[in-house]
Symmetry: C2
Subunit: 342 residues, 2 copies
């Protein structure tokens, strides 16, 4: 029988539809379909490849070999403004109201984090020390923009594969900082504050404890992080990664935690690629808004494989139909590991 489940964090309902139960093989691509990342296989046309630095706006940050100059080869991770930014640095950021309608100048930041010089080596395939550099860069950019009083929220995300919105193949992630707090996040914080008042405890910390105790949805954990498929997963194989220590903001991430996060994230991406034949995905950082104390929030990553189509029912209700229960998804992701060990 199908089951409706409510996410304790957002209040969102999902339908876990067992009538449509799906195994990983149901989501694998047909052989005649192309892989998830199609465009720009030719490196010479890739604006993110070494040697083509002039094809992007000038870099705003880079980790580079000693003695190399900005906007030339020699970088390990390189950050540039998006050539077609969704938001820009201009404008005064004041809210304008005209009758029923509020608007704001679209001030903000839109950056691309080029994750490495190699056109075809993905985040999950990097040596750990290089993957650490990528996440250090995420944190560096987060902290950089967190100081800007005109900004209210920093969204870091990675789109992998054409169906997940990636228009270039070269491994990269993005940062968009907005002058407004996403209303959904405000609602999530309101719920966390309500819980804190009622239970005198962090909703997210209690969630982690529940998941570790129940075990059925746990995918991986180490000293500092826990990965699990959430009880009310919207998407098949949706996985959340939380720091086990209570931290409101992604900017709070310490160096000691960073290594654990990278090792868990690489393991998870690797298992996902094996289980689902390299699926497209979105990876997003959820974190507290800037310039205010939000002690109840608890930052985390959400990994959202793109295996199902969002259609009329989801747009109408914001209730997602998920054909793979999170318990099954976790089982499949754990079985991959066992197969490997044989």
């Amino acid at each position: 029988m199908p089951e409706l489940r409510q996410d304790p964090v957002t209040g969102r309902w999902v339908i876990i539809s067992t009538e449509r139960a799906k195994r990983p093989s149901d989501f694998r691509r047909q052989k005649d379909e192309e892989g998830p990342v199609q465009p720009d296989r030719k490196e010479k046309n890739c604006p993110f490849c070494p040697g083509n630095e002039k094809e992007t706006p000038p870099e705003v940050f880079a980790l580079r070999l000693a003695g190399t100059s900005a906007d030339t080869p020699g970088w390990q991770v390189r950050v540039v403004p998006n050539k077609f930014p969704a938001l820009t640095a201009n404008g005064d950021g004041r809210k304008k109201t005209s009758g029923l309608y509020n608007s704001l100048d679209g001030i903000g930041v839109h950056e691309v984090i080029i994750e490495g010089p190699d056109h075809e080596v993905e985040l999950r395939e990097y040596k750990p020390d290089h993957a650490v550099r990528v996440l250090q860069t995420w944190r560096q950019r987060y902290l950089q923009h967190a100081r800007d009083g005109r900004l209210a929220y920093v969204q870091i995300f990675k789109n992998y594969g054409t169906e997940a919105g990636a228009s270039l193949r070269h491994p990269h992630s993005q940062l968009i900082a907005t002058p407004v707090i996403p209303p959904d996040l405000q609602e999530e914080i309101r719920r966390a504050e309500e819980y804190m008042e009622r239970e005198e405890s962090c909703l997210y910390c209690d969630l982690l404890e529940t998941e570790l105790r129940q075990g059925a949805r746990v995918v991986a954990f180490n000293k500092h992080f826990l990965a699990f498929c959430p009880f009310a997963s919207r998407f098949p194989f949706e996985t959340w990664i939380f720091p086990r220590q209570h931290q409101p903001s992604f900017g709070d991430l310490t160096d000691a935690q960073l290594e654990d996060l990278v090792s868990l994230l690489q393991d998870l991406l690797d298992r996902l690629a094996k289980t689902l034949a390299d699926p497209p995905f979105n990876l997003i950082v959820r974190t507290a808004p800037l310039h205010q104390e939000v002690p109840t929030y608890h930052w985390h990553l959400q990994l959202l494989p793109r295996l199902t189509t969002v259609a009329g029912f989801e747009w109408g209700t914001n209730i997602y139909i998920n054909p793979t229960s999170p318990e099954h998804a976790a089982q499949f992701l754990n079985d991959v590991n066992k197969e490997e060990q044989r």
Copy 2:
């Protein structure tokens, strides 16, 4: 400069990103791409075609020629339970709570409305009297399920094209009734009630008045309905269709209104197909929840062309980046009409 806009109905922010401004031709398919509806062009394999009635579950409603029997040819519009339902009639519908987690048996309804016997003639192409039958059937099914005390909300929707989630080509729409009210709708109603208390007026009626007065986003109107591209459109060419008379529920739709709705909807779908070369879309009915007086709500249709990819930024923030301003979209949809008249 890009602009952030807030939707007065939902509180949602969107980014109208002029840096990425797009004209209809940017969204048109490449010639070597297939049309939006690919599967099942062979009618003999189509479970929705006349003669194949045994391939669906038995019909629960049909408009048929006099003297024809259920589950045989002779129907004009036919309604059957979905063969792979997201929700089913079983279960007690009581909420279960286990620690942090709420769940419900997935009771509900999932029906398919087969819009006509012809495999390839679309809603926009029907003769008006047949298109009226389709929307009469929507209303009939809505009213049928509105009586069921276990249900809380009825979502009617149409997915057109593979990218919009349609898995069968034969023209059809769907109805899913859920035992919970979508939380987003509750939030929308809360905002409408707040507005009513503050302004002593209906938020939606005021919205229609504003749009008619400003004119820049109006796509079409007649005696009973108004279509416009909303101020904070999430998607290029997103269009909302409202009854001009205040009505909370889709079930309130009268016969007199019905003809006006059909004529406006067919005109709009036709213009969209011409402007954007037959794009995939989702069409959804937004209506008040069942079994309660919600006098502040004002039902409407939302037409959501699927031209852009939902990616990490949108999943992270629920803020959509729209590369075509609603004013431009309305202009393009109006220009199509002018070209026709030449």
